[in-house]
């Protein structure tokens, strides 16, 4: 069984960000530079030569090759790329695409596929925990329950947007495990709650899954007591 992941997913939200002309100008250049660097490195390795040897072939110095093989280097020019391609017996292809065509690729979700949570992780979260039916992303969820070992009733507010719980009487931090997507109202996830009792320094790590019907609904938590020797200091 795969270990349960507690770190939070990253949503690049490229479809939205690429609507901004200034952002996409920089993003397209960043992607192009990273791709050129990767292709140059792959080509040079395939030819079995090092940077110094390649520099000698095109009449430059090794640091110039090192620079152009950096993903964040944006001052390359076609003449240099042609010289490298000629020296290493390769072809340079330049493709110029209208932004609207490129955006269409992102609208079709092709960028999402690359960043989707691996199915095995989603399945594992599903098997380990009941399903959360989440309200809108960014909404506060109220979880209520008595944490094992503590006599009083604890209430935690968890904000899905940050995935980090507001510090309250009972909860120091919380992480959403699983996928969050504004386009999909149903989210399968688990929760990890790091709890403290009555503001004391005693800490207790618990994990749990929950079923939420809608925002503000009282939750039912299935909790697991963490081992005593793993209790994190607060």
């Amino acid at each position: 069984m795969q270990p349960q992941e507690v770190a939070l997913s990253i949503d690049l939200n490229l479809r939205e960000k690429l609507r901004d002309k200034e952002y996409r100008r920089h993003f397209f250049w960043a992607e192009t530079s990273a791709r050129i660097a990767r292709d140059l490195i792959n080509l040079r390795k395939r030819r079995g030569i090092n940077q110094t040897e390649l520099a000698g072939l095109i009449g430059t110095k090794q640091p110039a090759i090192s620079r152009i093989e950096q993903a964040d280097y944006e001052n390359w020019n076609l003449g240099t790329l042609r010289a490298i391609a000629d020296a290493e017996d390769a072809r340079v292809r330049v493709i110029i695409e209208p932004a609207e065509d490129v955006l269409a690729e992102y609208d079709s979700g092709s960028d999402q596929a690359e960043h989707a949570l691996p199915a095995s992780t989603a399945e594992q979260a599903d098997a380990a925990h009941p399903v959360i039916i989440a309200p809108e992303t960014g909404a506060n969820i109220i979880l209520a329950g008595t944490i094992q070992g503590y006599p009083s009733r604890h209430v935690a507010e968890i904000t899905f947007a940050s995935g980090f719980g507001k510090t309250g009487a009972a909860v120091l931090g919380a992480a959403i495990i699983g996928t969050m997507n504004v386009d999909r109202p149903i989210v399968k996830a688990g929760l990890t709650i790091l709890a403290i009792s009555d503001q004391s320094a005693i800490s207790n790590s618990v994990t749990g899954g929950t079923t939420l019907l809608r925002q503000g609904a009282e939750a039912s938590l299935l909790m697991q007591q963490g081992p005593a020797d793993n209790e994190p200091a607060v």
């Binding site: 990253i10 690049l12 992607e31 993903a71 960043h115 980090f164 994990t207 299935l222 007591q225 963490g226």
Partner: protein, 125 residues
Amino acid sequence: MAHDVRHWPGTVYPGEVDRECPEAKPLIDTLIRRLTADGPSPDGYRVKTLGANMGGLWQINLKVRRRQVRVLYAPYGQTIVLFRIHRKGSPEEQDRAYELAKTRKHEYELIKRAANATPGSRSIH
């Protein structure tokens, strides 16, 4: 094989990028895509493994408009966790960034270990 890039805590991305180095966002986004596609050491990036005394952190430096932006992270199998993204400043600021990243990594590993313990469980309402 695709990697799963995540962050801990939930304030690293986009929070720290927006706050400390918004001009680097397109490059950070590209880096995250490359980490996802190629793993923790993608070609073309200056990757450093910082060693045990730095908590086992990995580091990538990006140059953005003559300023350096630093990404501190660690791989865990197919998962890559980002712990700190900041603009490189004075040596004191860099030390603080390393310390924060180390603390976050330690906290993440503690919580992950606790979440993967196999004790008994009970339902509460």
